[in-house]
Amino acid sequence: MASPFELVLSYINVNSLLGAVGQGFIWGVMVLGVYITYKILNVSDLTVDGSFATGGAVFAVTILSGMNTTLCLLLAMLAGGLCGFVTGILHTKFKIPAILAGILTQLGLYSINLRILHGKANVSIGKIDTNITAISKLINKIFNITIPHTRSGMILGIIVSLACILLLYFLLGTEFGASIRATGNNEKMIRALGVNTDSIKLFGIILSNMLIALSGAMLVQMNKYADVGMGKGAIVYGLASIVIGEVFFRKFSNFGIKLASSVFGCIVFFIIRSVVINLGLDANDMQLLSAIIVVIALAMPIFKENMNIRKIGKRNSLNEMNQSKAYDQDYKEAIEKRNVTEIGGGDNA
């Protein structure tokens, strides 16, 4: 009998692995969008599922009308920004809780996306030239080799996600960007320092949804079709990716690495997905799996706390001497900790 590990390995092949990595980079741009709202602004924006499909739908329709590919990408981003604008206004001007505002927009977007796709649930873009085919052609020209469509898609994903990481890294390091981070951290404080937090949130939600729509448009290039339900579960994929990324890069505090870690998490997520599918599960099962991943990650702090309480119980059941020793140790640690952080601790009072 093969061990479970070997069993899993046997289901991984280079082709599906690379395919998963490519998907990871393309969806990774969406994850960066989710990162802006969820992690930086501390706003749970659920517009994602809708605006992802909007980006894809707008791209499909505009490219079918014969427009320049890059222009189509920009239009898709613009449409995504508009989705974000609606959620942002609902949240900041009408004071609707962010979660509800996002759900409302997402719900409405389903109808709008169907309209954009001329009432069809699925629109194929066929063999139309896209950024991905352009990359294939370029590589063919320079290296004289033909690479599969999905590989070129991966290259597009790498270029765009790296560009987005750099852009966000530099933006958030500026004076303006710092006020975005501070808004997510302590709204009252940064308002008292003269920042209009409503405008900042609006800007953040718009930017986030622009990236999400861009990701959707790239996925249409990759899949060669747009689907009205293509964004379903995107928010959970995004959160799962962020969570996975955090597990791998917990120790890093550099902001650029944190951004990159969420794209990395997305790649890992899609590798898990491809393994799960190769194991014989349906792609739709991924929704459940990603929900479980997110739940575990969010429940972790409580779980750890409970473990700690159990440990106290164990400590108390030790014999008296050990108990007092353990207590002394804890006390010493607590005092040391306090001296480090407390005002006037040590000699400087």
Binding site: E175, G177, R181, N186, K188, L193
Partner: protein, 263 residues
């Protein structure tokens, strides 16, 4: 100069809980005034503070700072003139950001924040270090420490520094030592006094503590039922004792709280 003219504010109008929180408040703070505001619970101190900072818009009246009418300005627009320190030490700083980042944010209070200029630029580093050294808490060596690792007192001292880093036209202290232990509170209060005296900052300090209200500032204002019932300054204020204040309080309907007597 801060000028409040005929300020009225009533909450829950037309209900059984209707409460006139501010009742024709007229108050002028001259440049360099350090005013302590004292009063019982529900006297209107907090509402007064909120009306000046812009979290509450008054029903009637005007607020002017340096002859600019700011009555209708939202909170963030008033930041150009006003520096604030809150009662809750967690509210004044961004906990997940470094000390230096917090200072850099405060440096730009009320100014436009450019998307094309780095927030941390080493030009200010020496200035920040010098200012932190003045606090005497050893924070100058911990510029890249996240603020959440500091104690309440350290955070409050940092907030104080941040609110005065760029000299404000008005400094508002909203019971800013109420959440600290007595030793730390007096340390922060002494720092407050030093900073205000050395930069001649016009200050409005709301406090629950009579002794602090007497010990600091050149002017004392007592509020009750939304009105200013007592306003002394200069020599008269210097000669004032806790007993005098208690007498004043006993003339009002609200008996003073324990905290005021014991403090």
């Amino acid at each position: 100069m801060l000028k409040l003219k005929n300020i009225y504010k009533t909450f829950n109008v037309g209900t059984i809980n209707e409460k006139r929180a501010l009742d024709n408040i007229n108050l002028v703070l001259n440049d360099g005034d350090f005013v302590t505001v004292i009063g019982g619970n529900g006297a209107g101190k907090s509402t007064l503070q909120n009306v000046i900072s812009g979290t509450i818009i008054p029903d009637y009246g005007t607020i002017e700072i340096n002859n600019v009418d700011i009555t209708k300005y939202p909170e963030h627009k008033r930041a150009k003139y006003i520096g604030r320190v809150f009662q809750d030490p967690m509210l004044g700083t961004a906990s997940d950001m470094w000390i230096s980042e917090n200072l850099a944010l405060a440096m730009k209070r009320g100014e436009k924040r450019s998307a094309f200029r780095w927030m941390i630029d080493n030009k200010n580093n020496k200035f920040f270090t010098d200012q932190l050294t003045k606090l005497g808490l050893g924070l100058e060596t911990r510029m890249k420490t996240k603020v959440k690792l500091l104690s309440g007192g350290q955070r409050q001292a940092l907030t104080l520094l941040m609110s005065t880093l760029k000299k404000p036209d008005l400094l508002m202290l909203d019971e800013h030592t109420a959440a600290l232990d007595p030793k730390t509170a007096s340390l922060v209060l002494n720092l407050t006094n030093e900073i205000i005296e050395s930069s001649k900052i016009t200050t409005l300090m709301i406090t629950h503590n009579m002794r602090d209200a007497l010990a600091y500032g050149n002017r004392l204002v007592m509020m009750d039922q939304g009105k200013i019932i007592f306003d002394v300054s200069g020599k008269e204020k210097k000669n004032l004792t806790v007993e005098d204040l208690l007498k004043k309080f006993n003339q009002t309907k609200d008996a003073p709280s324990d905290a005021m007597i014991l403090g």
